[in-house]
Symmetry: C2
Subunit: 345 residues, 2 copies
């Protein structure tokens, strides 16, 4: 059975969840997927760097005692990501560091180093795909490897590969989505009568919102996702700063009340449309949707994406847009896609 | 560029629409899909049989004068489907005859003859997959070809290949869907105050319902789809008669009114669940759904399928479930899948 060796860049919630899955369920995963997975390298600012070409003992690596680093397992307590990524014994580099909304670094460099050294990449990081998708896809093609980033849009809910696989040839004319669960949750709670600041506090208590909710409610998180979708689905060549972006901070209780009276709902919508001449127009902005709109009923932290197509009209997929197990699954599905690519070569 | 030669079995709305697309847009389809398509054989009870290994002139074949048959184009005005399917110069047999809800014939035999003679099959016919999926899949594997039938469930809205491709490894635990647009339209019109017989008449006027609406409102159409889904998504080995089925004829105006008062909706739900021991339970029956249910807001003739999964919880896809161009696209997407299979061999 084919085996893939992984290098985990960052050991936060998502890569830790993926590693736990590999530790606990390698046999059943192999049976379902038709290949095995090992982790041969891990690097994280907190624990340092660990490499084992024979496969890291994940039970040990995921259960360090307080104060320990990877140095106590034979690794080092420092990180030299460029050297590690370029030289480690891995087939696939799994990038799961935090998204930098300004320029995508250092994740963008991590991806570039991996592809340059002939390794496929899967990532949940929005930065590389939103700031340098064209460059990185070309680099992957040149090196006969893959750059996969399904988790950058709706965590494990597949939208990029739904469009490129089962919907191939459908005539994609545009998309429209609820792509940030936090802001959708907040808008829903405002409909239930909370002020926006109260709804934000509640979202923070439940773990939906970060301590600094700016990226969620200001629209910059959705902006990155719209960039990725416009480039992948509509063949645009945008960078994140090209997307006109307005968040939900201007939505007042009066606007919400007026919508509710009409049976309508305010939603933060990220959208893109392709004109007949190929021009792609994108935006992130709140929109008041009539109750009959397919996105009007998407409530709570759920995400949804509506595809506007030539042959099928509107097709909508909804599902989780965040969560550690959901996002770890996105990485697993990226590895499945990389495996399919290797079968095709 | 790779080319696929098609044999069209049946030239009703769906295959006629597919043939028109090939006639009118072969260049742009080739550019999008990366392969070309020709039609080398057509058979239909009304027009007879036409074969041309060099590619049939579709402009002629789709525009016969009244009273003409394929005999006037050098074919014959009779049909011997077994001989044609076994011997015609085609890579792919496109089966689009009417579904027989009792035993799937003659479509089932059409598919069998094609696979036995080393041709891949794509079909929008629910019969073969609902009555003999295991046999036909094994036959395809043995002959190193494909048996594809995405259009048998929600026309071109991809559910089978969403599950087998982008959602591979997600841990499918069950599904629940609105799989018949006619009955969903009728239930919606009953909510608006029409009696069921009035709603059926209206659906017939708009072309949603057949002159004999029994298969739609009696649940047997959904039963076939549930059989296909349970086998494909949950690994069951069911035949259509195994599915307990109840249609919407028992839904009274009083039941509808009571639901509306509670903010709920009656829906005809086809569902399947897989227990921990692998047992699959299926049913087709009306259910009253609370307004917060992801399927409650699916209105009109739209279809939707909710996947219940281990890693992502609930993921729902909605889109058209019928229509000639939508169903012709299902066949096109089947051909795309067959092409991907050939790249993997």
């Amino acid at each position: 059975m084919k085996n893939y060796d992984l290098a985990l860049i960052g050991l936060g919630n998502v890569n830790r969840t993926l590693a736990s899955l590999i530790r606990d369920e390698s046999a059943s995963l192999a049976e379902q997927l038709g290949f095995t997975i090992r982790v041969t390298a891990i690097t994280d600012l907190r624990w340092g760097t660990l490499v084992d070409a024979g496969g890291i003992d994940l039970a040990q690596a995921l259960d360090l005692a307080p104060g320990e680093t990877f140095a106590s397992l034979g690794g080092v307590d420092t990180c030299d990501n460029e050297t590690l990524i370029r030289t480690c014994p891995a087939d696939i580099v799994v990038e799961a560091t935090f998204t930098n909304p300004l320029n995508g670094e250092p994740a963008l460099s991590h991806v570039r180093w991996a592809l340059e050294s002939g390794k496929s990449v899967c990532t949940t990081n929005k930065g590389p795909a939103a700031f340098a998708a064209d460059e990185l896809k070309a680099l992957a093609t040149k090196n006969n490897v893959r750059f996969e980033y399904e988790g950058a849009v709706m965590s494990g809910t597949p939208v990029l590969r739904l469009a490129s696989g089962p919907l191939k040839g459908v005539g994609m004319r545009g998309f429209s989505g609820i792509l940030n669960g936090t802001s959708n949750y907040i808008l829903g709670r405002m409909e239930a009568g909370l002020r926006q600041d109260e709804a934000i506090k509640e979202a923070q208590q439940y773990g939906y919102a970060e301590a600094d909710p700016t990226a969620d409610i200001g629209g910059s998180d959705v902006r990155l996702k719209v960039t990725v979708l416009a480039n992948d689905l509509l063949g645009a060549h945008l960078h994140a700063p090209d997307v006109p972006t307005e968040g939900i901070t201007g939505i007042t209780q009066e606007m919400i009340d007026q919508a509710v009276q009409q049976g309508a709902h305010w939603k933060l919508i990220g959208q893109g449309t392709k004109a007949a001449d190929g021009t792609v127009t994108v935006s992130v902005a709140p929109q008041m949707l009539d109750s009959s709109h397919p996105l009007a009923g998407i409530s709570g932290a759920t995400n949804a994406l509506l595809f506007d197509t030539r042959f099928l009209g509107q097709v909508t997929i909804s599902g989780p847009g965040a969560g550690r197990i959901e996002t770890a699954y996105a990485l697993l599905s990226d590895i499945v896609a990389i495996d399919a690519f290797h079968h095709q070569r």
